[in-house]
Symmetry: C2
Subunit: 308 residues, 2 copies
């Protein structure tokens, strides 16, 4: 059994190639929900949906989110009504949000809803939202404090981030099964996701870090930073903004208290020594998942490392 901590697109691309290599059902994915938001009265859970759509084989392969071949006609009409139109919701995608919202209004938890959606989409892997409690990732920027989606999508990540804030007004506990999945896993994978906006929220939940430290199973992370940059998303700018070095080494440093293995892109081979000095094993390989073969190769390398 493998447990994976996941954000959105980067994680989904990796997990898509991991799944065919393991026994069906041998994977529990813990998804970031700090990006969750409401729009037009609908509950959106972008990272959960990206993971579900990708594993269901219906994700838009170019964008990495949304549903392949989707149309955007509800959005066009919302624009006519003068409602917010900055979040690109497709018509098929919208069915998920309407369904989630209807289930929320009947009192179902995010965990229960995710399970219903997973079955509806025919996804085999177990997918857990990181928490059933309200949790919003905010960023404090030179333009003020805002929801992460507002920073990322509405304002195109152009503001300078000064601080990342996990806003949990009522306190947030890990969702049912999250700590158990970590404790029972034969290997834990931190997917190549934003360490501040995707993995960080999961690590902030009570008990998660402790369980990662305590497990005798190997804990492995794949660096989302390659050559000092992210391939996609604002993790590099966010790290720089809050005064961190923009490097794979910095990511390993953020995880060092529980990390056993760090997967480094060959571009960053020169960082191997520094990271090993933190007491972490380093695996140097090609982590840039720009072809199906490379994605599969990365998944194979990771599985081999966990089984060693």
């Amino acid at each position: 059994m493998i447990a994976a901590l996941a954000g959105g697109v980067g994680a989904a691309k990796f997990l898509e190639c991991l799944v065919p290599l393991i026994e069906p059902g041998d994977l529990t994915i813990v998804c970031n929900t700090g990006d969750d938001m409401t729009l037009w009265g609908l509950y959106l859970s972008p990272d959960v949906d990206i993971i579900l759509y990708t594993l269901a084989g219906i994700v838009d392969p170019v964008k990495g989110w949304g549903v392949r071949g989707d149309t955007f006609n509800t959005l066009a009409m919302m624009r006519q009504y003068g409602l917010p139109d900055w979040f690109n919701l497709g018509d098929r995608d919208l069915a998920t949000h309407i369904y989630r919202t209807a289930l929320r209004h009947t009192g179902k938890t995010p965990s229960e809803i995710t399970e219903t959606l997973r079955r509806g989409l025919g996804v085999i892997a177990r997918v857990l939202p990181m928490t059933d409690d309200p949790f919003e990732t905010h960023v404090l920027t030179d333009s003020g404090r805002m929801h992460f989606q507002e920073y990322l999508v509405q304002r195109r990540a152009l503001d300078t981030v000064q601080e990342v804030i996990y806003h949990t007004p009522l306190g947030a506990r890990p969702a049912p099964g999250v700590l158990e999945a970590i404790a029972q896993a034969d290997g834990v994978i931190l997917c190549p996701s934003n360490p501040l906006a995707s993995i960080g929220p999961i690590l902030s939940l009570a008990g998660v870090r402790d369980h990662l430290c305590a497990t005798p199973a190997p804990v492995l992370a794949i660096s989302p930073i390659v050559g000092g940059k992210t391939l996609k998303g604002p993790a590099d700018r966010m790290m720089a903004g809050i005064g961190l070095e923009t490097s794979a080494r910095q990511v390993a440093f953020l995880y060092q208290d529980f990390l056993d293995i760090f997967v480094l892109d060959q571009t960053d081979a020169d960082l191997q020594g520094d990271i090993e000095a933190l007491g972490v094993s380093v695996l140097v390989t090609d982590t840039i998942m720009n072809t199906p073969e490379k994605k599969t190769d990365l998944a194979k390398v990771v599985l081999r490392a966990l089984n060693d």
Copy 2:
């Protein structure tokens, strides 16, 4: 000022041609809401939407409901989730339902919401839902009691209707402005809509019938029954099912306590004497709105009759 009591498609076709003939804003439309329902947690108000879309010039001209050129991709995805797919909701249309639902959840009344949608769609005529209170038109059939939409859309009006029930668990009052619109009108029009399922619900609201009886202004109805049949919809079958004669004469009889003028299709010219015997003036004309010219002619005849 004209007040019109309206159902869906038949009323909308007539009102579309009435509007260009009168001063902008000189019309208040009171819409049936007995067909309202919730689907996927969304509030639908089919007759209100048909009226708004038609007057906004965006209605699907073939079906008479929904938005012209709409796609049905959310619906397709809902089908994949195994959710009810019998109500044909288009993607653009859905924006209205999502918006309405979001406004409902913020505590807005149907009247306030209809006003917001009206302005959003650029409709000039005043459009009022008949009530802000819960009101469901049910039919008792040989297959049991069901919501009118279930009978009409899901079961294609194939069951025999034995009784029409206006289900108002908390009592339903006319929405703000409805009685005033009738009282202040220089003429009242009952559109060619189903007398049991569209006009009947409006007439059932406390004070509406009294105000129609009391007004010195002419009250005119256009027969939705031509040659013993409806052109569209199940009004004829419903009337037969509950033991009423399926005729224009029967419609006039249902309205006789307040009716001044009844507009009869030339097919039914032989009923003129019977209806005049009820103390109602009869206007015989071509009421079948199958060309733009005929629709406009009907609207002109009606306006002339109200002004005489």
